[in-house]
Amino acid sequence: MTHFLLVRVGTALATMALLSAALFLATDALPGDAAGTAAGADATAGERAELRERLGLDRPVVERYLAWLGDSLTGDLGRSAAAGRPVGEMLASRFGSSVLLVATAVACIAVAATVLGLLAGLRSGRPVDRLVSSGTVTLLALPEFLLATALLAVFAHGAGLLPAVSLIPLGDSPWQHPQALVLPVASLFLAGVGIATRLLRAAVATAAESPAVEQARLSGERGPRLAWSYVLPAAAPAVQGLAVTTAGLLGGSLVVETLFNYPGVGSELARAVAYRDTAVVQGFGLALAGTALLVLLLGDLVSGLLDVRSRSASATGLRGERRLR
């Protein structure tokens, strides 16, 4: 178990290091860097050089990366070029809204995926399974922005039932304006429910074949009780699937928040990318990637703990489908 923990945490840290380096390289070291943008189009070469020196851009890339990483880890994410505010402060004011959005969607997905996954997995091959499976394939195939735009067109522009833009007064939490949450949450729900149901259905179908469930069935357990007390615990490691879905929704929130103008991390990140607000891109990107990795790590650990088969075993086969040898 200790080995398993160490390997998982080590992998997550190494991934984070790799991602942060890629992020830094992409935003800071490429031609047309921050100095060019900040100095303006008609700055002379001398002015640019001076600005580069002042911003510290003349130091080697590795040195700047390490300095940036050190600052970021100690909580100093720099200052937004557009807003003039510290990035950490902007992040703090928006993080809660995004967490609220994604968490609400994940809660809905968890319930729906459990019900649908049990329905389909326990009747594998029968009409209800085929219906659920074709539904999930359809949802999986469609990009988030099409689903979100369809909801927007039908419910906001067409029927006029819900607001098209999440107008949330400054300082208010989205929680105080539930009507602004409905469409963004519904979009994320549709974007994630397909993959989550599919993963859970597979786990349930496998669990339903296990000797324990067969034994329970033979002793007369059936219906919801069989599903709840015997199948679901055996399929519990599928919680990792929910973690994968959640991480995916953090990506999807970029699209959904931008489309609905929801005041979260994703919409601000997309805006910062468009305006080349480097400090915000780096800080917000790091925060989103870190959150995604943390969610995945937690899902991995919880799923490892819940997996009855490997409680006594060491690090073997905890992530069956991910294991390479």
Binding site: A14, A22, L23, L25, V244
Partner: protein, 273 residues
């Protein structure tokens, strides 16, 4: 499972769609950037699908909007698969050392949301279609490496591969002669899945405004631009959205059929003891 009839129809539709998207910009239509009428006009003479939010011809813009998307997705899939095959087979053949660690790292990277990676890597060079292509390839590579690596690792223990390695054949030679022919099916299926994901990512990149800037037509961007007027002029949104749905669903269903026979639908029955 399905008869070959619907599958063939799907294939024909997809080929037609691809051909239309590729030759679209050469079709004798009006200019995709010229304003020809008032904004959000319903379909009529001169503009068969109506006009968009700036009064441009929706038909012309839709015809222009698919080529970049398809070429980006195809190129990203080809590049990603090539890199994935190279690294995947070599890492799969290695029993220990840095390459096996690489596979672990690849696992971690593959779990990061692709859209985030695309947004952050394309952030450095805004307005560039090439940057989107590179970013989508970067997302695609870890998945290919993982699948090819797993498939290769399964073969590595087999007698003829061990013999070849023990004989002193180079890793690359073994990968090419002994491994590749035996994992071709998995490699093709994986490329199909990568293409689907790449199409989605490229379309979403267009939707978010990455890639070539504004007057350029792009199905993802067309949906975004015209969504606000969908009640007045639905065709401006529906036309590109419909083509995207057709592309996404068509490729997904086709890939589902391609990969389905490879593995059994149900887990194999346990032998009675």
């Amino acid at each position: 499972m399905t008869r070959s009839g619907p599958r063939r129809l799907l294939l024909v539709l997809l080929v037609l769609l691809t051909a239309l998207a590729l030759i679209g910009p050469w079709l004798p239509l009006s200019s995709p950037t010229e304003r020809i009428a008032a904004p959000f006009q319903p379909p009529g003479a001169g503009h068969l699908l109506g006009t968009d939010f700036l009064g441009r011809d929706v038909l012309a813009r839709t015809a222009h909007g698919g080529r970049t998307l398809l070429l980006q997705a195809l190129a990203a899939t080809a590049l990603g698969s090539a890199v994935g095959l190279l690294i995947g087979t070599l890492a799969g053949l290695a029993r220990r050392g840095p390459l096996t660690w690489l596979l672990r790292l690849v696992d971690g990277v593959a779990a990061v949301p692709g859209l985030l990676v695309v947004l952050l890597t394309a952030a450095g060079s805004p307005g560039s279609d090439l940057a989107v292509l590179v970013a989508v390839t970067l997302v695609s590579v870890p998945f290919s490496v993982r699948v090819i690596g797993t498939a290769t690792a399964r073969l590595t223990e087999l007698g003829y591969v061990r013999t070849a390695l023990a004989r002193g054949d180079g890793r690359l030679d073994v990968a090419r002669r002994d491994i590749l022919p035996n994992i071709a099916r998995e490699a093709w299926a994986e490329a199909g899945l990568r293409f689907i994901a790449a199409t989605q990512l490229c379309a979403t990149a267009g939707f978010l405004g990455l890639g070539a800037p504004a007057p350029e037509a792009n199905w993802g961007r067309l949906v975004r631009e015209n969504a606000a007027g969908a009640a007045a002029q639905p065709w401006a949104t529906l036309a590109p959205a419909f083509l995207l749905v057709l592309l996404a669903l068509g490729t997904t269903l086709l890939a589902d059929r391609l990969t389905a026979p490879a593995r059994p639908q149900h887990p194999p029955q346990r032998t009675p003891s």
